[in-house]
């Protein structure tokens, strides 16, 4: 996974949390599962700003696979959560599909 922090005042950032998780969405109660979590504190924050992305790698599990049903959907996301020193936060989700490779005919 590649990511870049853009437009951030460094003095305001307390920590960055990176996670990979799935959640259900639909008509009923939600379920969620955290697959990967890593917290970078202020002194561990990425040095790179602007053009050069930072990276991390995650081995994804076999299940649950992404699913788009009417009553329920299973969504996988990479989540970045920037915790600011004033108590605020910036949350960014990037959805991706976990499933078998799509075969070309």
């Amino acid at each position: 996974v590649e990511y870049r922090l853009v437009g951030t005042t460094w003095g305001r950032v307390r920590a960055l949390e990176l996670s990979v998780l799935w959640y259900t969405e639909g008509k009923g109660n939600e379920d969620t599962g955290l697959h990967y979590f890593h917290r970078l504190t202020e002194d561990q924050l990425p040095i790179q700003q602007g053009d050069e992305p930072d990276r991390f790698e995650v081995q994804l599990p076999q299940a649950p696979l992404s699913y788009e049903g009417s009553l329920i959907k299973i969504r996988w996301v990479v989540r970045g959560r920037l915790l600011l020193s004033d108590g605020g936060e910036v949350l960014v989700d990037r959805m991706f599909r976990l499933g078998p490779p799509v075969r070309s005919s």
Binding site: Y23, E25, G26, K27, G28, N29, E30, E68, S70, K73, R75, V77, L91, V92, D93, M95
Partner: protein
């Protein structure tokens, strides 16, 4: 945050806590708190039909009263993270809140008694969501214990209950329903337009569902799925 392909009426957007409770224009949280501590002497009942916003009101209002010490429930879903411990402007007045969401009578009741022996103290606010699920004897016992230990009490119920003054009545008018739907669609930048559900249509749906806005949202979820 909107996820591409999300249904704007999915539970994550409509569950209590996800939509802030909306009062009439001339009323707000502070007035509700004043009424609770004043007219109701710290023991108030929030009453309204199923799906009319009782739990949503708790989620919007209670965190502003002070730190929540415990959210206890037997089944169902936990309040959203926003409704969990927070400091509030009335922290000095209400030193703590213990919140019970009742979805199974016997076990929840036992949990309340077990909890009360250890932790209850004067001015602690006890919140019971689903008060009507308690047996009348259990309601009397709970009220009596609150009086004896000088605890404050906030309960929700589908019907008026003897012994606790009505603090607020929840009701979703077609106008309010339309506004909430517009906000949901706008927040999710949905391609569905609120005008497609006119106030008259919404009024009909609310009437069919006996004022249960939650059921109306379920219907709209299905309609939105058909439109995808």
């Amino acid at each position: 945050m909107r996820v591409p392909g999300s249904n704007p009426f999915a539970t994550r957007y409509t569950a209590p806590g996800a939509i802030p409770y909306q009062f009439p224009t001339d009323f707000g949280m502070q007035q509700l708190t004043d009424r609770w501590l004043g007219d109701c002497h710290g023991r108030g009942l929030i009453v309204g039909p199923h799906g009319s916003g009782k739990t949503s009101l708790l989620h919007s209002w209670v965190p502003s009263l002070g730190p929540i010490e415990l959210v206890h429930q037997v089944a169902g879903f936990l309040p959203s993270p926003e409704a969990r411990p927070q400091t509030g402007q009335l922290q000095a007045v209400v030193p703590g809140i213990r919140w019970f969401r009742l979805t199974h009578q016997q076990r929840a009741l036992q949990a309340i008694w077990d909890d009360s022996r250890r932790h209850w103290r004067p001015e602690l606010a006890i919140v019971v969501d689903g008060y009507e699920q308690l047996h009348p004897w259990a309601r009397w016992r709970l009220l009596n214990r609150c009086r004896r230990l000088r605890c404050r009490l906030i309960v929700t119920s589908h019907r008026r209950s003897l012994g606790i003054k009505t603090l607020w009545r929840t009701d979703v008018s077609p106008e309010l329903g339309h506004r909430l739907i517009s906000q949901l669609l706008e927040r999710n930048r949905s391609t569905i337009r609120a005008e497609e559900w006119t106030k008259e249509q919404l009024s009909g749906r609310l009437e069919r569902q006996s004022g249960n806005f939650r059921e109306v949202l379920f219907e709209l979820y299905d309609l939105a799925e058909q439109d995808r």
